[in-house]
């Protein structure tokens, strides 16, 4: 199987998986994905769309950052154990659930 047909097969599998969910489950999943992506986008003002910063940026890119690492860093900013210029002030405004959502999103986004 060449690369293109493998890709097509994966897409078809994905479509059939989506189609096999009930309408409500499908709506719930799609809504959760939308809300999670929009929540993570609150970081993009500084850290770039989907966590990709402009070239040469001193502000770190978040795309592909391992989830466990990111959760630990955000919580370290929040409890003051990791010093920062601004992130200690931002993270104190986030719930643990939002930290989890944001970290999951960037970990799942491919570099």
């Amino acid at each position: 199987m060449n690369t293109t047909s493998l890709y097509t097969a994966r897409v078809l599998t994905a479509i059939s998986m989506v189609a096999s969910f009930g309408v409500n489950a499908q709506t719930t999943t799609a809504a959760a994905q939308l809300h999670n992506r929009a929540t993570a986008a609150m970081c993009a003002n500084c850290h770039g769309t989907d966590g990709r910063t402009t070239e040469g940026s001193a502000i770190p890119a978040l795309v592909g950052m391992p989830k466990d690492y990111m959760v630990l860093q955000l919580k370290a900013f929040k409890d003051g154990t990791r010093p920062a210029t601004v992130m200690h002030q931002i993270t104190k405004g986030l719930t643990d659930a939002q930290i989890d959502t944001i970290s999951s999103y960037y970990a799942a986004t491919k570099r």
């Binding site: 994905a14 709506t27 809504a31 939308l34 929009a38 500084c46 769309t49 931002i90």
Partner: protein, 428 residues
């Protein structure tokens, strides 16, 4: 497959939806009869909303952006052009990526009128566009008529505002360059709320830094209608005392009521007149003209009331209003960063509503605002605003947010990188 389920399936598939729908959708300047979403105004709010409605719908919802300018010129960083350490090119970003990369249909025009009942807008050039959802990001209008003589003095180019970045930014820089050493630059500040609370103090700092290096006998006067510096007060005042002593004077409770362009004089409600060689007068502000004219500025006839969860107007269904034009909840600054945040919350709400999905019950907004006190050192203010479903308003989280400890060069680097990243996030 029905449209609704197609949108949801393509969301589940992520990039496939993006790839398949990107082909052939990058037209520019086409005036459609109908767009699912029309966005009015391509600033930090509108450009972000347009881009993110495209992205968050996996490029399934068509978006037409109406914007008269050919390129985006940033208000943040524009004070550095006035101070001389950045250029207009540094703060200018073209709109071509919004169309070419994201498939936003850009119509270069003004909106002449909005018909909320018929759900149409009419362009200044004549055509009408129907919409399912309208996003208005009209920015601010300067209320020149609240200060006697200011309208004429600004029209003639003698007394500038430069509060909307663009030609006046460069013109103000040229006035400062042309001023002889020993002259006085005076900036007047209106009562809050106005666009960019720390902006006037940053601008005064930039001009003082320019004078200190190039025109050491010259002075900066800040004439503030407010009781005290409205943002980052202790940080600005300490830096002024340590670095601009004898150059910069701050005068609170000075409300300008008239200007005399012939004699270069500011008149106040109480205090004595002030004369200066370069006058930079900022009058009261309100929501951009198209919002006022469309009866959407329903708070004190100045600002647009919105339902904060979706930014839908409290006045008209299916019209969402974002950016500096809205009536803010307490502690929500009128800033570019906030407008970008409004744009994303609104984009997600509109994608949800057009796809029959529930709107996010707990959105939040973030704000980070950097001010340069000279050409390298920076102070910031940051805040997080969580939506409170019970009170239907954004509230800052106790213990969150704050300001810099002191002006520092590290944040000078971050501030410039912030600008580059938010320009890319809003426009590219």
């Amino acid at each position: 497959m029905k449209r609704r389920s197609f949108v949801q399936a393509s969301m589940a598939l992520g990039s496939l939806g993006a790839l398949s729908s990107m082909v052939g959708c990058a037209s520019v300047g086409r005036v459609p009869e109908k767009a699912r979403v029309v966005v009015v105004g391509g600033g930090y709010g509108g450009a972000t909303a347009a881009k993110y409605i495209r992205m968050l719908s996996n490029y399934q919802i068509d978006v037409t952006l109406v914007e008269p300018n050919s390129a985006f010129v940033s208000c943040p960083i524009s004070n550095l052009v006035i101070g001389g350490s950045k250029t207009m090119a540094d703060i200018t970003t073209p709109y071509d990526k919004l169309s070419g990369k994201h498939g936003v249909n850009i119509v270069r025009d003004y909106v002449a009128s909005v018909d909320a009942a018929k759900k149409t807008i009419t362009l200044a050039s004549g055509p009408t566009i129907r919409y399912d959802k309208l996003v208005m990001s009209p920015g601010i209008d300067l209320m020149f008529n609240t200060i006697e003589g200011l309208k004429e003095a600004n029209t003639s180019g003698q007394i500038l505002q430069a509060w909307k970045a663009g030609p006046e930014t460069l013109a103000l820089r040229q006035q400062l360059e042309a001023m002889e050493d020993g002259g006085v630059y005076a900036i007047s500040i209106p009562e809050a709320p106005y666009r960019c609370p720390p902006g006037p103090y940053e601008r005064a700092s930039q001009v003082a830094n320019y004078f200190k290096q190039h025109k050491p006998k010259s002075k900066v006067l800040i004439l503030d209608a407010n009781q005290d510096v409205t943002s980052k007060g202790p940080l600005f005042k300490k830096f002024w005392a340590d670095n601009y002593k004898g150059i910069l004077d701050y005068m609170p409770q000075h409300k300008v009521i008239a200007v005399d362009a012939k004699t270069q004089t500011l008149k106040f409600d109480v205090q004595n007149d002030v004369k200066a060689h370069v006058l930079n007068v900022l009058p009261d502000m309100r929501a951009g003209g198209i919002a006022v004219q469309s009866n959407l500025a329903n708070v004190n006839a100045r600002w647009c009331g919105v339902h904060y969860q979706t930014f839908e107007s409290t006045q008209a269904k299916d019209i969402h209003i974002i950016g500096d034009a809205i009536m803010i909840a307490p502690l929500m600054p009128k800033s570019g960063h906030m407008a970008n945040s409004h744009g994303k919350v609104t984009a997600a709400a509109i994608v949800a509503q057009l796809s029959d999905m529930p709107v996010n019950p707990e959105p939040f907004l973030s704000n980070t605002c950097y001010s340069f006190v000279n050409d390298k050192l920076v102070v910031h203010v940051a805040s997080v605003h969580q939506y409170d479903a019970k009170d239907k308003i954004y509230k800052t989280v106790p213990g969150s947010g704050g300001v810099s400890g002191a002006p520092n060069a590290l944040e000078g680097v971050y501030a410039w990188n912030w600008a580059q990243n938010i320009w890319a996030d809003s426009l590219m």
